[in-house]
């Protein structure tokens, strides 16, 4: 995989953007889970 990335440098940038996106997406999903828990508690 690394040799493929080394030849096409553009994919390195893509990997970087992907990592940033995954980190931020993970944070937003965590927030949604917390919100769901509160809303469930409200109903109980």
């Amino acid at each position: 995989m690394f040799s493929l990335l080394e030849q096409n440098s553009l994919f390195v940038v893509l990997l970087v953007v992907l990592i940033i996106w995954i980190g931020i997406y993970y944070e937003i999903i965590k927030l949604e889970k917390r919100l769901k828990k509160i809303e469930k508690k409200d109903e109980d």
Binding site: F2, L5, E6, S9, L10, V12, V13, L14, L15, V16, V17, I19, I20, G23, I24, E27, I28, L31, R34, L35, I38, K41, D42
Partner: protein, 303 residues
């Protein structure tokens, strides 16, 4: 227009603008790098007009002129991948690409295509510093007023700042693997960001070690202030005065003591895209920050 849609559109724009433009240096770059590395082929955007058989006059995007020796040229305008022949004072064509987009990014030595990383890796790091600053700001406000809302905001900002710091470190490490050979080199800037991660990890350790809410809030506010005082030293001062691999260190050939962002390494167009990216990430941070505050406040009220 609602904020979240604006952020979405801005991000799509930033990603398009960072991947579509092609890299182009100018003829001065080609001449300069032919003296340093004879195997380097540098893309230059320009126009050609024929002088004689296989000999062309080449005008690049900045207006420099040169003689181009090439066969099999089909188009008169585009991105020409050139090498410089010093003895005969002409350029030779190695590859040709059709370019229809009006912006090009400058040729930054050592990076070429990977230069686009600047548009993502640096804004993430700067937003992380901003987040730590906001954490200190709310820490100060808590110490003055003893209102728990400020403590909530201080922690949330610090958590987000920590996340962005981890992202900056991981992306930087990936960049290091493809630029300098290995994932971690203990370069001064890498060491600084590692220490910063430790400092804020200690912040969370401190918070989890105290049970009483008031004390937790007060002590972590004090620590967030102390921690942020060291941040400018680590991010802005130390990596610029010590020699290392990262751009902007003391022995960087192209931009010593500053880096492409602070000094002139980026062209006007690239600077605009960089600015857009910075705004996009800052707005994203504030959006997640506000959401987190609302969720934490709800949790506190329910309990």
């Amino acid at each position: 227009m609602k904020l979240k849609y604006f952020i979405g559109i801005l991000f799509v724009l930033v990603i398009l603008l960072s991947f579509i433009p092609k890299i182009s240096g100018n003829l001065t770059d080609v001449k300069f790098y032919s003296t340093i590395d004879t195997t380097k082929i540098i893309p230059v955007k320009g126009v050609i007009s024929e002088i004689s058989n296989n000999l062309y006059k080449f005008i690049d995007k900045d207006g420099n002129e040169g003689r181009l020796y090439a066969s099999n040229i089909t188009n008169k305008e585009g991105i020409f991948y050139l090498k410089y022949n010093e003895y005969e004072n002409y350029f030779t064509l190695k590859k040709f690409e059709n370019n229809t987009f009006f912006i090009t990014f400058p040729f930054i030595p050592g990076l070429e295509e990977k230069a686009r990383i600047i548009l993502f890796h640096v804004p993430v790091a700067w937003v992380s510093v901003l987040a730590f600053l906001i954490s200190m700001f709310y820490g100060i406000r808590y110490l003055k007023s003893e209102n728990f809302e400020f403590d909530v905001k201080s922690v949330n900002s610090a958590s987000l700042g920590f996340l962005f710091c981890i992202l900056a470190t991981v992306t930087g490490s990936i960049w290091a693997r493809f630029n300098w050979g290995s994932f971690w080199n203990w370069d001064p800037r890498e060491t600084s960001i590692f220490i910063l991660l430790l400092i804020y990890a200690a912040y969370f350790a401190l918070r989890s070690a105290i049970e009483v809410e008031e004390k937790k809030a007060k002590l972590s506010a004090v620590y967030s202030i102390i921690a942020f005082v060291t941040v400018p030293f680590f991010i802005f001062i130390l990596p610029r005065i010590t020699s290392g691999l990262h751009p902007g260190s003391a022995d960087d050939v192209a931009s010593p003591g500053g880096g492409p962002v602070i000094k002139s390494g980026m062209s006007f167009e690239m600077r605009i895209v960089f600015f857009l990216s910075l705004i996009a990430f800052t707005l994203l941070f504030f959006w997640i920050f506000i959401l987190r505050n609302r969720v934490t406040e709800l949790e506190r009220k329910k309990i």
